[in-house]
Symmetry: C2
Subunit: 199 residues, 2 copies
Amino acid sequence: MPVPKGSTIDPDRTRATILQAATRVLYERGLDGIGVAELCTRIGISKETLYRHFDTKDGLVEAVLEARSERTTRWLAEAAANAGDDPRDQLTAVFAALQQWYDEPDFRGCAMVNAATQHHVAAVRALTKRHLERYLDLLTGIASRAGAADPALLGRQLLILLEGATVVADHQDPVRAGEHARDAALALLSVATRTRAQG
Amino acid sequence: MPVPKGSTIDPDRTRATILQAATRVLYERGLDGIGVAELCTRIGISKETLYRHFDTKDGLVEAVLEARSERTTRWLAEAAANAGDDPRDQLTAVFAALQQWYDEPDFRGCAMVNAATQHHVAAVRALTKRHLERYLDLLTGIASRAGAADPALLGRQLLILLEGATVVADHQDPVRAGEHARDAALALLSVATRTRAQG
DNA sequence: TCAACGTCGAACCGATCGGTACGATCTTTG
DNA sequence: CAAAGATCGTACCGATCGGTTCGACGTTGA
């Protein structure tokens, strides 16, 4: 039975559904850990439908990663924005959000870094690099508003803490990884701002 | 020509050669980024020889990772040991060694973390977890000898910096990633020891 | 009403995968 | 010298891969 009798046909909605479901499944199983056939059954569509909306599996992967990068960047930025104006509170909120993520049962590390590690393709590596630079912008902004002596340096150290905590949470132990990184981040921020107005 | 006329036959040496060459190639291409056939031609052996020494590709992978984990742990431990008795110098030496690694043209991130990310297999994830805990022991030891208030906490923060710097160097920019992580590590160590003897 | 379009399920394609088998050739061991 | 073992090159196996095609059937829009 090709099209369920009485269902609505909406290509845009279908595409969005594919993107959303594929994001979840590809993150859980890894980009090369699941074939197109099984992926389609998990999504609940046929291969023909998938290939109507995306040229190739790699095309789907890139669309998934692009959407995910924007979504998670927005998620972190909002966590910071909702924490008020104090850069210290913003930093605390960012790492608190990360810790919540680490505690989720299906946490599997940073999807973008995982993708670049799994799929040795230039386009994916470029997407991941851009993703990390979005994070870097966010963190450097916080460092700058905090009055750090060298905001670019502190921003990069915060990025190292963020990605390091994610790796450690994924591969060693998720318990308190975000909190430990947060404590380190706040300590670095204190040191970086001590020579200025306040500590 | 099966066996080169005049060459010596030494199974142990053959196995060691396979292990060494496979370590390099699998790191460069990724665990699933190269097939057994091409792997064998790159190593310079036949498939029959490979399967005489290793039961399966996964078995080879595990042997490679096991050896690599021991080798790199020893490498970092020696870098620390050769730096003298001052924990600050040891930490500096560790991150200096990392920066040298990041600057190598064929640097591709932490092989153990990459393996666990690429190969969704329990055995590989377990090897990676043990690997990170070896690093953690090394760093916690330095934190402890430095007189940190909470050596376990500082050790874990140093592990986060180490793996974070590796990820950032791989996926964002290798330039100065190790040095930035080193500066952060020394700052954290100063803060953690300030309440004690010295700062 | 009717043509265009979206979707399904299944069959199918060539390529590649991990792994095995075999005969030939050389070394090692007794 | 002879038997056993190591290695090679190649062919081969079944399974799976990404991707295409096709007929059937339903919806959408002119």
